[in-house]
C-alpha cells in the first residue's frame, strides 16, 4: 500500500478558527472528503460544536481532551494568525497548514524560523493545503477534483492552476500520491525543494510535477539539487509568469522579479540544464508525464 507524504489515514486534524465562515465551511468539506477532523479551536467558543466537531478555547485544551491530534489547519484572520501558529507549535503539533492569506511577511518570517527550530512542518501561509487523494485532505482543494490516488506527486505555488493540472491528470487516468500547495507568499514554511525531497523518499510517488512561478530562487535551488543526482525520480515542471514585467507583483506577493533574480528564463534554464522538461502550457504537463509512464 502507498504511503503518500504529509497527510494520510492517520492524520487527525484540528481546525483553528473553526467558527469562522471559511473555517466551518471547509471543516465540513474536509469531513465530506473523509478527513479525520477531530477538534476545532476558537477562543471564547469552547464547549460549542461545529459540524458535530467539538470546539475548544485553546489548543492546549483540545490536546488535553483529544491527545492524538497531529495536524492543524489555520483559518484564523491574518491579524491573529501568527499567534495561532505559535499556539499550535508550542502545543506540540508537528504539521501546521496555514490557509490564511494576507499574513504580514515579517510575521511569517519569524514563525517559519521558529517552526524550523522546533522541528515543526509548516505548509503555507496563503496556500490551498495538502491532499493525498482518497485518504485525507487538509486544505481547501476542491473535493471533486481529487478522486484518484496514484503515482504522481505534485508540488505547486499556485492553487487554481494545480486544480486544473490535477483535473487533467485524473481525466487521463493518472492518479496522484499527494498534492501539496506550498503557497504564494515570499516566505513560506516548506519550499519546493523540501517537498520534492519528501516525494523522493515516498514509495508511492514515482513521478514528480513541479508547478512554479516567477520570483524567488526556489526552482533554481531545486534544479541545482536535482543536478547533484540526489533526486532519482522523473521531474517535470511548469512555470507561470513568462510574460510578467520585472518589478511588478503578480497577484502572489512572492511573484516578483527583482535584482535580476527569479525570472522565467533563469528558472527554465536551470531546469533544462538538469534535463527537467518544462511544459509550455499547463495541459502539456499531462503529455510529459504520459511519456514517462508509457
Amino acid at each position: 500500500m502507498g504511503m503518500a507524504i504529509l497527510v494520510n489515514e492517520n492524520t487527525k486534524v484540528l481546525v483553528q478558527g473553526i467558527t469562522g465562515r471559511e473555517g466551518s465551511r471547509h471543516a465540513q468539506y474536509m469531513l465530506q472528503y473523509g478527513t479525520k477532523v477531530v477538534a476545532g479551536v476558537t477562543p471564547g467558543r469552547g464547549g460549542q460544536t461545529v459540524q458535530g466537531i467539538p470546539v475548544f478555547d485553546t489548543v492546549e485544551d483540545a490536546l488535553r481532551k483529544i491527545p492524538d491530534i497531529n495536524t492543524s489547519i489555520i483559518f484564523v484572520p491574518a491579524q491573529f494568525a501568527a499567534d495561532s501558529v505559535y499556539e499550535a507549535i508550542d502545543a506540540g503539533i508537528k504539521l501546521v497548514v496555514i490557509i490564511t492569506e494576507h499574513i504580514p511577511i515579517h510575521d511569517a518570517l519569524r514563525f517559519v524560523n521558529y517552526s524550523k527550530r522546533k522541528g515543526v512542518t509548516i505548509i503555507g501561509p496563503n496556500c490551498p493545503g495538502v491532499v493525498s487523494p482518497l485518504r485525507s485532505k487538509v486544505g481547501i482543494l476542491p473535493n471533486h477534483i481529487y478522486t484518484r490516488s496514484g503515482p504522481v506527486g505534485i508540488v505547486s505555488r499556485s492553487g487554481t492552476l494545480t486544480y486544473e493540472i490535477s483535473y487533467h491528470l485524473t481525466q487521463a487516468g493518472i492518479g496522484q500520491s499527494t498534492v501539496v500547495g506550498i503557497g504564494g507568499d515570499p516566505i513560506i514554511g516548506t519550499d519546493t525543494l523540501e517537498v520534492v525531497k519528501m516525494f523522493e523518499e515516498d514509495p508511492e510517488t514515482r513521478y514528480i510535477v513541479v508547478i512554479g512561478e516567477i520570483g524567488g530562487t526556489m526552482e533554481e535551488r531545486l534544479a541545482k539539487y536535482i543536478g547533484s543526482g540526489k533526486i532519482t525520480k522523473p521531474v517535470v515542471a511548469y512555470i507561470s509568469g513568462r510574460t510578467a514585467p520585472p518589478g511588478k507583483r503578480m497577484g502572489h506577493a512572492g511573484a516578483i522579479v527583482s535584482m535580476g533574480m527569479g525570472s522565467y528564463e533563469s528558472k527554465v534554464k536551470a531546469f533544462q540544464e538538469v534535463n527537467v522538461p518544462v511544459a509550455r502550457t499547463p495541459t502539456e504537463i499531462v503529455k510529459l508525464i504520459k511519456q514517462y509512464i508509457r
Partner: protein
C-alpha cells in the same frame, strides 16, 4: 507598496537619519512656508517611481517665484496614471561621496539582507549587473538582528573612517528599525551622501511596506503609496490588478492561472493588456467589478476570461459576467473558458445572453486570436 520619498525620509529621520532640510507643498498656499528656507532649493515631485529627473520632475528653484512656478507645473499632473499631489522642496547639500545602502528580505535564507556599495546615486540593479563585486552583502538573522560590530565591518569595507563609522552605525540601525517596526520589504537610501563637512545624509530614499501590515501602522496612509486610482479601486473588491502594455484583456482566478493565461496569450502571438486575478474564491461581485475595468479600458480589443472552478463556483462567475455586461455598453468580444464546480449552471446562464463557453483556455484563445486578426 512603495512610499513617497518624503514619507520614507520622515520615518528614517524619526530614528536618527539626517536628511536635507525640506518642506512639503500640497497646494500653492503652502509656498509661503518656504520663505524660512535657504535658497536655492530643489523641487522634487513626489512620484513613486524611478527616473524622475529624466522626466523633468525635479528642478532647481532660486526664488520663491521659481518655487511657485514649479509647484504650479507639478501639482495635479498625472504621470504613469499617478497624480502628483505633493512636491518636496529641499535645501542643497555639498556632497563629497555618494554611497548606496539598503535592507531587504532574503527570501532564500528567510532573513534580511543588507546591501551596500560605494557606487551610490545610480541604479543598484545596474551595479549588480555590471560590477557585482562592488556590492557588499551582509546577511542578518531575524532573531540575532543587526549588531554594531557587523555594521562596523561594512563601514570598513566602504572605506568610512573616524566619526563617519559611528554615524553609519546610527544610519543603518535606524534603517533596520524602520525595516522591522514598519514591516518593510525594502528600505533603501540611494544616495547616502557623505557631505563635505563629514556628515552622512539621506538624499533619496525608497521604502516599501508590506500592504498586509497596514492595519498596525496607523501613521502610514495608502495615499502616500504608489497605488494608482484603478489599483486602489480593484483592491476594494479583493482583485489583484496590474496594468500591462498589450491589448488582450485577461481575467482569471488565482495568481498562477492568471499568469498562465497571460503566457498563453503571448504563446498565440498576442500581447496581454493586464493581469487581473479575481481570486481563488471569486464572487459574483468581484467578477463583475473586475470585468468592468477591462470593458472600459480603451486599449483592450478583446477579453479572455479563464476560470477553473475549484472554490470558485462557475455560476457565480457567469452571473458576474452578465452583471458587467448589463452595466457597461461594449462591443469588445469576450471569450470565456469555464470549467469545474457548477460548470453546467454557469454555461446555462451565459448561453442565455448569447455567450459561448470553451472547454479549455487554448480553445478560447484560439477563437479570440481569430476574432481580432480577422
Amino acid at each position: 507598496m512603495r512610499l513617497l520619498e518624503y514619507k520614507g525620509k520622515e520615518l528614517l529621520n524619526k530614528y536618527g537619519v539626517k536628511i536635507p532640510r525640506g518642506a512639503i507643498v500640497k497646494s500653492l498656499e503652502d509656498i509661503q512656508t518656504l520663505k524660512a528656507m535657504k535658497f536655492p532649493l530643489f523641487a522634487k515631485s513626489q512620484v513613486p517611481f524611478a527616473g524622475r529627473a529624466k522626466m523633468g520632475l525635479v528642478r532647481r528653484v532660486d526664488t520663491i517665484n521659481d518655487a511657485e512656478n514649479a509647484a504650479r507645473d507639478y501639482l495635479g499632473k498625472v504621470i504613469q496614471d499617478y497624480p502628483i499631489r505633493k512636491v518636496l522642496f529641499e535645501e542643497g547639500v555639498n556632497v563629497a561621496k555618494e554611497l548606496y545602502i539598503s535592507i531587504t528580505l532574503d527570501r532564500e535564507n528567510r532573513g534580511y539582507l543588507m546591501l551596500a556599495s560605494t557606487e551610490g546615486g545610480i541604479d543598484i540593479e545596474e551595479v549588480a549587473r555590471k560590477s557585482p563585486e562592488k556590492i557588499i552583502r551582509l546577511y542578518i538573522d531575524d532573531y540575532e538582528g543587526l549588531r554594531d560590530y557587523m555594521i562596523r565591518g561594512v563601514a570598513q569595507k566602504l572605506g568610512l573612517e573616524g566619526s563617519a563609522v559611528q554615524d553609519f552605525v546610527t544610519v543603518t540601525k535606524a534603517m533596520y528599525r524602520v525595516f522591522t517596526e514598519y514591516d518593510a520589504e525594502l528600505v533603501e537610501i540611494n544616495p547616502l551622501a557623505l557631505t563635505t563637512d563629514g556628515q552622512l545624509m539621506a538624499l533619496d530614499v525608497k521604502v516599501m511596506i508590506d500592504d498586509n501590515s497596514l492595519y498596525r501602522h496607523s501613521d502610514i496612509s495608502i495615499e502616500d503609496s504608489d497605488y494608482t486610482t484603478e489599483e486602489l479601486e480593484a483592491r476594494k473588491y479583493g482583485l489583484h490588478y496590474v496594468e500591462l502594455t498589450g491589448y488582450v484583456g485577461i481575467m482569471a482566478n488565482g495568481a498562477g492561472l492568471t499568469m498562465a493565461t497571460m503566457d498563453l496569450v503571448k504563446e498565440f502571438g498576442h500581447e496581454p493588456a493586464d493581469f487581473l486575478d479575481v481570486g481563488g474564491g471569486a464572487s459574483e461581485d468581484s467578477v463583475k467589478e473586475g470585468l468592468k475595468i477591462l470593458l472600459t479600458d480603451d486599449r483592450i480589443k478583446a477579453v479572455l476570461v479563464n476560470i477553473f472552478g475549484g472554490i470558485t463556483r462557475c455560476d457565480e462567475v457567469a452571473k458576474g459576467v452578465v452583471g458587467a455586461l448589463n452595466e457597461v455598453k461594449t462591443n469588445k468580444p469576450i471569450f470565456i473558458r469555464l470549467k469545474g464546480t457548477n460548470e453546467e449552471e454557469g454555461r446555462k446562464i451565459l448561453t442565455e445572453v448569447g455567450l459561448k463557453t470553451y472547454e479549455t483556455a487554448e480553445e478560447a484563445m484560439e477563437a479570440l486570436s481569430k476574432a481580432i486578426t480577422r
